[in-house]
Symmetry: C2
Subunit: 306 residues, 2 copies
């Protein structure tokens, strides 16, 4: 067995993504040693019990010291204080990366705190589930998914290459783009869908003429598909929306314009507009399936039987 | 083996739902004979090849004559002309039912055409997949799902009981309610989710700054969950929105109000409102899972590996 590409990896934040990175990195022997840290003592204890890290440190300094690769896996609103605590202890030549769902704000918050000689390369794996916490992680989470790196202009090509190889080692395919484009792409593929899903679940909850029991019983008619992403971690998603405001408002504006057109078509009984809109959306699902990003099985292949 | 509860069942419209009823009724021996009809000669031919019906008739009269139970399984916009063609051939004492996603409009369109002595009992199984056509049907589609009957005031209790037992035989749990309430409940649990899903897929499609390839590649971040119901049959859904206008506009108005509040919270950086909204939606998913209407597996239990 060849030597792992990193001697020590530090993972700060031991939820779904942090724990999955640890599981996958161990599976692929990508690190001589994985040291984790989480702001919550409870989470640190649970992570120790599960054992996906070689060590769970009780402070950031101990977690990051001597690490070749440090990955921030906390909600992005916490990055600034984490980076400030970690910075004095980062090894020269280390790669500092993250997994945040927004990239412009991460560069704004973390960039100024990065010591000279440390390679700051933001990243975002496009993978997840609706579950949170250290128990939610698993080694195959990134298999076949995409990870996006958003290196800053002038980033060290060799360090970018090492981080790219790391994510490929975790099972991902890797793309590189600039942070602003990332934030717009994710606004439409991820942030807006989450906002809409949270919203419709809330609307259903508040509708006084329909009971919650009815919403639950008849949810197989469409509603339940929205409840999965609306069950995602509230802190993480609050931070996403606080940190990608412009792009989210831009795509939300488009969404609202398009919805007004459908609303008018419903009001006026304009069947042709409805039919045309409903007809052009099948192709995109077919393409997602062909790209290996979705199952072709009906109803997501859910097992209906308990 | 005891005699089946119906001598002859006629199924008009041989798509996903019609063919699934045939499969499930055969599995449970609910009919001595199942005769199908579809307006499309191509669909009739494919249905004959599959063989879920004992006979596929070439006209509505032959399909419904002598049937004890006639079920309309076409898009609701076609019901009026189907009912007009079927009416002269319906057997006295027969039950005329349907599976349409709206009920008030069905009563409006079909009710006046029902001959005396025929029991008209509208129904709606809360089940489906994103696939259409006679090949899409399968015998377990209704297992554990709900079916709603909306009998008119004064409906024959014995006939309602027989239809209820039929749907239970297909595997469903059965509720009875009035048509107006059905249409409001389904507007929030089904019609609005479909409108929103179709809309966001359209918005993503039209966004010129983000390529369709990017939307597809990064869809695992949330977007792909919406593409399933946005791949549903366009004709069926056009007819739903043309025939449940008031209830859809009512819940869409609520949705828009709620979305305005979230939009403002994003604009103003109001993290508390975002967090509070995102925190109260997990419970409803948990309840749906506990009611057996959803899988507890992460990501709907999708198999990520091809």
């Amino acid at each position: 067995m060849s030597a792992p590409p990193f001697n020590k990896i530090a993972i700060i934040g031991l939820g779904l993504i942090g724990s999955s990175i640890a599981h996958a990195a161990r599976r692929e022997n990508l690190a001589g040693r994985i040291v984790g840290y989480d702001a919550s003592a409870d989470v640190r204890g649970r992570a120790r019990t599960i054992g996906f890290a070689h060590l769970v440190a009780d402070d950031i300094a101990a977690c990051v010291e001597d690490a070749d690769l440090v990955i921030l896996c906390a909600p992005v609103g916490a990055y600034k204080s984490i980076a400030a605590a970690a910075a004095p202890h980062l090894k020269p030549g280390a790669i500092l990366s993250d997994v945040g769902s927004v990239k412009g704000a991460v560069i704004r918050d973390v960039g100024p705190l990065v010591p000279p000689g440390v390679h700051f390369i933001p990243a975002h794996p496009i993978a997840g589930t609706e579950f949170s916490g250290p128990e939610a992680g698993f080694a195959t989470l990134f298999d076949g998914r995409w990870a996006i790196l958003t290196p800053l202009p002038g980033a060290d090509a060799e360090a970018v290459g090492r981080l790219k190889a790391f994510w490929q080692g975790l099972g991902s395919q890797v793309d590189v783009m600039d942070a602003a484009h990332h934030d717009l792409v994710l606004a439409i593929t991820s942030h807006l869908p989450h906002l809409i899903a949270y919203n419709i679940v809330g609307t259903a909850h508040d509708l006084e003429a329909v009971t919650e029991g009815e919403v639950i019983k008849y949810s197989a008619s469409g509603f339940r598909d929205f409840t999965r992403i609306a069950a995602s971690d509230p802190t993480m998603w609050r931070d996403v929306f606080l940190n990608n405001r412009e792009a989210v408002l831009e795509v939300l504006g488009r969404f609202n314009e398009d919805l007004s057109i459908l609303q008018r078509a419903v009001r006026e009984g304009d069947g042709q507009t409805l039919f045309d809109t409903f007809s052009r959306t099948r192709a995109i699902r077919r393409a997602i399936i062909e790209m290996g990003q979705e199952t072709p099985a009906p109803n997501f292949g859910r097992d209906f039987k308990k």
